[in-house]
């Protein structure tokens, strides 16, 4: 192993990166773009859902109920209609996620002491949203109901009995229930996958394609020196992007950062070794830029996106898929990221994620080293 030869390869690689606007774009612009895209674009929070109302009663009481809906941040009363078809059309068109129908005898039956029912028509195309909507609707109506009960008791000078059981909720880790806090840390794993696997698989396949690899391997430089020299600049760029992304997450999206920054760097370094080795390995096998980039996308980016727990909770996947996620390095890295950012889990308690990640890093680095030979066959 000659440090000078390694350095010669690394210097060349840096010059090429700096001169190639496409790779510069991927290194500098892509991380920021992905952060913005996922930070703003993917919003799992349900707020201000459009609701159409058909108030057949038109009384003081029915208006009161609707004010309760209006007051909730989850609903926006988009329009009040005066016939049933207008309501169903709005649901069909997607202008409304929910339609509320208040019966003509609403106030009358209330004054008689009830009970009275309010109809809610819910667009359940997206079952998750529908479930959440129904929950919120029940909560709003429940609140309105108990208001009436309390008023009724007061009128009769009766003692107001507090509910025997109530829930005292405390949200931990993501106190404001912001989905960006859940998503943004995981974007780091996506960025690393692209930088690591995609870029490196291209850079080595390019050498085979252009014939420069033949010239390179005719010199005394060793296979290990070529690999390390080519990967080192991407490692540095990857770490640079980790810091950039972390800063954006913390200072732009105000995602809490409670763990150790050092642990973030160490685990990111391990994940980078994983993806860089994988990228190198792919390009040794593929030897064409196109094939290499396709394989890289398929085996790193997509799993990191879908199966790492970045967007979709692993616990809710079918059991078979849950097992598959165990062989995905991204799963462990995403888990570490979320714990470091939101929970501030001490490093010592991250071993269940850190150990598998380290094993992956070691095994894949060894695999990449062994796969590359200084021969043309």
């Amino acid at each position: 192993m000659s440090f000078n030869r390694l350095l010669a390869v690394a210097k060349k690689e840096v010059i090429q990166i700096l001169r190639d606007s496409r790779s510069l774009f991927i290194v500098v612009i892509m991380p920021v773009t992905l952060m913005m895209l996922f930070g703003y674009g993917v919003n799992l929070d349900l707020k201000g859902l459009p609701v159409y109302v058909y108030d057949r009663d038109g009384s003081q009481q029915s208006q009161d109920l609707l004010k309760h809906f209006q007051a909730s941040k989850y609903f926006t009363i988009a329009r009040v209609v005066n016939n049933y078809p207008a309501l169903t059309r709005a649901l069909d068109d997607g202008h409304a996620k929910m339609g509320i129908v208040i019966p003509w005898d609403f106030s009358q039956r209330l004054s008689e002491g009830g009970p009275v029912q309010v109809q809610a028509l819910v667009d359940a195309t997206d079952d998750n949203t529908a479930n959440v909507l129904i929950g919120y609707t029940q909560a709003v109506v429940q609140g309105y109901s108990s208001g009436i009960q309390i008023a009724w008791l007061r009128e009769r000078g009766l003692q107001i009995q507090p509910s025997p059981v109530s829930v005292e909720t405390r949200t931990w880790y993501n106190e404001n229930l912001e989905s960006s806090a859940f998503i943004v840390p995981g974007v780091l794993a996506l960025v690393m996958s692209v930088i690591g696997t995609f870029l490196t698989s291209l850079t080595i396949a390019r050498e085979w394609e252009r014939g420069t690899m033949e010239q390179l391997i005719s010199t005394p430089v060793s296979a290990m020196e070529i690999m390390m020299g080519k990967l080192a600049p991407y490692f540095v760029l990857g770490m640079f992007d980790v810091v950039i992304c972390a800063l954006i997450a913390i200072y732009w999206f105000h995602v809490p950062f409670r763990g150790s920054f050092l642990t973030l760097l160490v685990s990111s370094a391990m994940f980078l070794v994983v993806v860089l080795s994988l990228g190198f390995f792919i390009s040794v096998l593929a030897k064409s830029q196109f094939a290499a980039s396709q394989i890289a996308l398929l085996i790193t980016f997509l799993p990191a996106f879908l199966l790492s727990g970045f967007l979709f909770a692993i616990e809710q996947m079918p059991v078979a898929l849950q097992w598959i996620t165990r062989i995905l390095p991204a799963r462990y890295y995403v888990s570490i990221l979320k714990k470091i950012f939101l929970k501030g889990t001490p490093t010592a308690l991250l071993y269940a994620d850190l150990v598998p990640l380290a094993v992956f890093a070691f095994v894949l680095a060894a695999l990449a080293t062994r796969s590359f030979h200084k021969r043309l066959e």
Binding site: S2, N4, R5, L7, A8, V9, K11, K12, I15, Q16, R19, D20, R210, G211, T212, E214, Q215, L216, I217, S218, T219, P220, V221, S222, K374, R375, L376, E377
Partner: protein, 318 residues
């Protein structure tokens, strides 16, 4: 490095790709300081041989040593002692001239105290002084080839392997390039060069003609021209050429007939005796004869002569 008379020794070297035999039991000995030419058509096995000698391909059987090191077992020791220019231009097009030179100086571990001097020397040799900051991809073909040679000799290797170094380069640049090769050889560098340009082969000290993986002739250019023909060569000017070739191919005493430019080349056992016979024979067949004379064969004649007697497997016909 052990002191040797021969820079390259090849014994029964073979390379098979699946069922295809690319290089078939070749034997060579190349002394130090020789410009050795490897001449043959595309696909004859030139590049495969050179790649085996540079340790880039593993021989299927046989052995070869370069600078005293076995190419199969000690490829790294071989690489320390050679400079290689592959057939396709393979420096980095997006690097500047000086950056390519620095890269290869680094890869060959040229020590920092002679680095400047070596790079200056390579630039001067390649006639690229003052062009250090040009992007390599923008250089004309001839300049690129000289730069590639410059990069391959930064570590002053005792042996150079050049695989079709002048293909796609204009004739003047080609001439300059050969001057460089001879300059290297004068300094004691052994040069192993492949080409399919017949006129270039004349610049070599010694030549091997390779055809379908086999060496079909070996010697100095003049030895080849003298010894490898099966007979003597006649230049026949006549009209019409097409008929004349057909007629002469079946004529008694004619070993071979082929069109060369606007005349015919005939191979006959004895030129002096054949001239009147051929003239008569052509006139009998109604072909107008402009003149017949004995000529010295070119390498192309030699090449045609040694390869036409062989069938597809490269074996001599019975």
């Amino acid at each position: 490095m052990p002191e040797l008379d021969n820079s390259v020794v090849v014994e029964n070297l073979c390379k098979r790709f699946g069922g295809f035999v690319a290089v078939d039991r070749i034997n060579l000995e190349i002394p130090k300081g020789e410009v050795f030419g490897f001449l043959g058509p595309n696909g004859a096995g030139k590049s495969t041989t050179i790649r085996m000698l540079c340790g880039l391909l593993k021989p299927t059987s046989g052995r070869a040593s370069v600078a005293g090191y076995d190419v199969g077992r000690e490829p790294e020791a071989v690489r320390q002692n050679i400079g290689y220019m592959s057939q396709k231009f393979s420096l980095y097009n997006d690097l500047k001239v000086i950056e390519n030179l620095r890269l290869f100086a680094g890869l060959y571990s040229v020590s920092s105290n002679v680095l400047r001097e070596r790079i200056d020397w390579a630039l001067a040799m390649a006639n690229l002084k003052g062009q250090e900051n040009l992007i390599t991809g923008t250089l004309p073909g001839g300049w690129k080839q000289r730069l590639a040679l410059g990069c391959a000799v930064l570590h002053k290797p005792p042996i150079l392997f050049l695989d079709e170094p002048t293909s796609g380069v204009d004739p003047i640049s080609r001439r300059q390039f050969w001057d460089l090769i001879h300059h290297m050889a004068e300094e004691g560098v052994t040069v192993f060069v492949t080409t399919h340009y017949m006129e270039e082969a004349e610049y070599c000290n010694r030549l091997a003609l390779i055809f379908r993986g086999r060496i079909v002739a070996l010697g100095t250019p003049s030895e080849l021209k003298r010894g490898s023909m099966n007979g003597e060569l006649l230049l026949v000017a006549c009209e019409p050429l097409g008929n004349a070739v057909e007629v002469l191919q079946s004529a008694p005493g004619v070993l071979d007939a082929a069109v060369f430019g606007n005349a015919l080349h005939l191979v006959v056992p004895d030129a002096v005796a054949a001239i009147p016979q051929i003239e008569m024979y052509l006139k009998q067949h109604g072909i107008a004869v402009g003149g017949i004379e004995k000529i010295r064969p070119t390498l192309e004649d030699v090449f045609v002569s040694v390869t036409t007697g062989r069938d597809a497997t490269g074996e001599m016909k019975p």
